[in-house]
């Protein structure tokens, strides 16, 4: 994946099957059919249909305001907290309807963790930040081991092992974001959703987080929303391209335009709008 050149002028002939797994081996984590989000009576996102495969990185790209983040938040029921927000269509998680009234949303969020755009550690020590999730989920076992494991996986352990009792606010922005990733990993989730996790970080911190994502892919399913097309091209296996449809009454609805292998999206997109966006003609 790393070698892909995203400039369309240099689009190489697509070599089928280079990084493909046989379709039958794909384990589906999320199945989204006619996914839509309404805020009150306003339709914000509509017509979303795609599957998120296990241990894959799925990138969601698209121009600002096309509902990428709104949609991402459907996958762990974070939209529950927005008054008036309503999710329509059918979203299943390992075959179970995510929006069944019997589903425990807190349990969903424990399994489907989320890393936000801005690093947002708790006003607690580094250790307590990572230990927070296990503690509230009544983790029984060696908390120190778990915290070390999570910090190691987030590639932060060596930088913070001598100052675990220090405030999390003493860390740099990139470190704080890795701390937030460690905090998410500590509850041992199945999926990690990332909402523009690098947009507040410099290129060095960004590349560390990207390396981390590729590393985490072995054990976790990752869905990432990003503004940065190069980032999507660098790290993701599958890419969903969203755009904004402006209706006659000036209503703006985000829609899924195309979903395919990242390689295909960036080399031979089947929709003109996708091509326009990745070549920088709009958005």
């Amino acid at each position: 994946m790393d070698e892909i050149d995203v400039t369309p002028a240099n689009v190489a002939p697509v070599i089928e099957g280079v990084d493909e797994q046989p379709e039958t081996a794909r384990e589906v984590v999320f199945e989204i059919r006619d996914g839509a989000v309404r805020y009150g009576s306003n339709l914000a996102v509509a017509d979303v249909n795609f599957d998120v495969g296990a241990r894959e990185i799925t990138a969601i790209i698209g121009p600002s305001g096309c509902g990428k983040s709104t949609f991402l938040r459907c996958l762990n029921r974070m939209n529950d907290f927005i008054p008036g927000a309503k999710v329509e269509g059918r979203i299943t998680y390992h075959g179970e309807n995510l929006y069944d009234p019997k589903v425990d949303a807190a349990e969903v969020r424990r399994r489907v963790g989320m890393v936000f755009q801005k690093p947002n550690p708790f006003p607690k020590s580094i250790f307590d930040n990572v230990a927070y999730g296990p503690r509230i989920n009544r983790f029984k076992g060696d908390l120190h081991d778990l915290v070390e494991q999570a910090l190691t996986r987030a590639a932060l352990w060596d930088e913070v092992k001598d100052k675990l009792k220090k405030s999390a606010y003493a860390l740099s922005g990139g470190q704080q974001q890795r701390l937030c990733i460690a905090r998410t990993l500590a509850v041992q989730p199945d999926v990690v959703l990332m909402d523009e996790p690098c947009s507040a970080l410099d290129p060095i911190a960004t590349s560390r987080i990207e390396d981390l994502m590729v590393e985490l892919k072995r054990d976790f399913t990752i869905v990432i929303v990003t503004h940065n097309m190069q980032q999507a091209a660098r790290v993701s296996d599958m890419t969903a391209f969203f755009t904004t449809d402006v209706g006659e009454d000036a209503s703006r609805v985000g829609r899924l335009v195309e979903f395919d292998r990242t390689h295909t999206i960036f080399t031979s997109p089947s929709d003109q709008r996708t091509e326009g966006y990745i070549t920088g003609r709009f958005g």
Partner: protein
């Protein structure tokens, strides 16, 4: 401005406006000077009375202060000279303490309810409105209220006074708590929820600690305020000359009430005691305020860089 920004194409470059201050016009500097003067003036006007009051109370009251003054009984013959404000010191601490124990937990819970559980419900709006109205109730009316619902049935006691003070503190604590909770970054709640947190646990473990400095500060200011209240105590605790440590039985007294009673006398003895009581009260309130600042600082320093 717009003419210098879009010069006609072939014309010679127009003179660039100077960046020196004078070019902004003399009226702007004049406005600045006037505003600065007004602000500094207001500061002086606000501080002068404060300094005068505190200074005068210290000058007049410092001679009274002694260990005996803080612990001895109040002379039975009010015109006699010499120390004794012990019962009032004890009463102030007891009654204000009891009011705090009742009002602060209730008020914090009320603020949590308003902000976290009923921000948009009709009941929430009603409670918030009533708390606002309650803030504006004159303290003597609050005293009358307690007099009619409590004192007429159970007689005067320090507890009746504490009830009145507690009713005065309650809306302040509710409103401060609500405002402080509102300031907690939504991202903090979100990240707690994203880790599988539930509402009550998130409020207890994340939201309240983040808002704690402000809540502590607000609560202790309400305490300091209550310690100085006189009117609601006049007919709920009456007065007494010997220390009454029983909060629930018999009349009691506080520094504020003693200031009121002694300052009315024409004799120099009680007047001197009133000055001493005033200084003691200011000192107690000052200590409360320092405590509130210190506590908030400890809370916030713990987790800042």
């Amino acid at each position: 401005m717009s003419m210098t920004m879009t010069p006609p194409a072939p014309a010679p470059t127009p003179a660039r406006p100077s960046i020196r201050r004078s070019s902004a016009g003399p009226w702007r500097s004049a406005k600045s000077a006037i505003a600065s003067t007004l602000i500094v003036g207001s500061l002086v006007v606000a501080i002068v009375p404060l300094v005068l009051i505190v200074g005068y109370v210290i000058v007049r009251g410092i001679d009274s202060i002694s260990w005996a003054f803080l612990t001895d009984d109040i002379p039975i013959l009010s015109r006699s000279e010499g120390p004794g404000m012990g019962p009032a010191v004890v009463g102030t601490l007891l009654i204000t303490g009891a009011a705090t124990v009742m009002a602060v937990p209730l008020g914090v819970l009320g603020g949590i309810y308003l902000n976290e559980y009923s921000a948009r419900t009709a009941l929430g709006r009603v409670v918030r409105f009533l708390a606002e109205v309650m803030t504006g109730v004159p303290s003597i009316v609050m005293g009358l209220f307690i007099y009619s619902i409590w004192v007429l049935r159970f007689g005067v006691s320090g507890f009746a006074g504490a009830l009145a003070l507690g009713c005065l503190m309650l809306p302040v604590v509710i409103r401060t708590t609500e405002e402080m909770l509102k300031l907690v970054a939504p991202e903090l709640r979100e990240s707690a929820y994203a880790l599988g947190g539930r509402k009550a646990g998130t409020i207890l473990r994340v939201v309240l600690p983040a808002a704690a400095p402000g809540i502590v500060s607000g609560a202790l200011l309400a305490v300091a305020r209550a310690a100085g209240e006189t009117a609601p105590l006049l007919f709920t605790i009456l007065t007494v000359n010997a220390t009454n440590t029983n909060l629930f039985h018999g009349p009691n007294t506080t520094l504020s009430v003693q200031i009121f009673r002694n300052a009315q006398q024409v004799f120099p003895g009680p007047q001197q005691r009133a000055w001493g009581a005033a200084l003691t009260l200011i000192a107690i309130v000052f200590i409360f305020t320092l405590l509130s600042r210190g506590l908030s600082a400890v809370f916030s320093r713990k987790h800042r860089v």
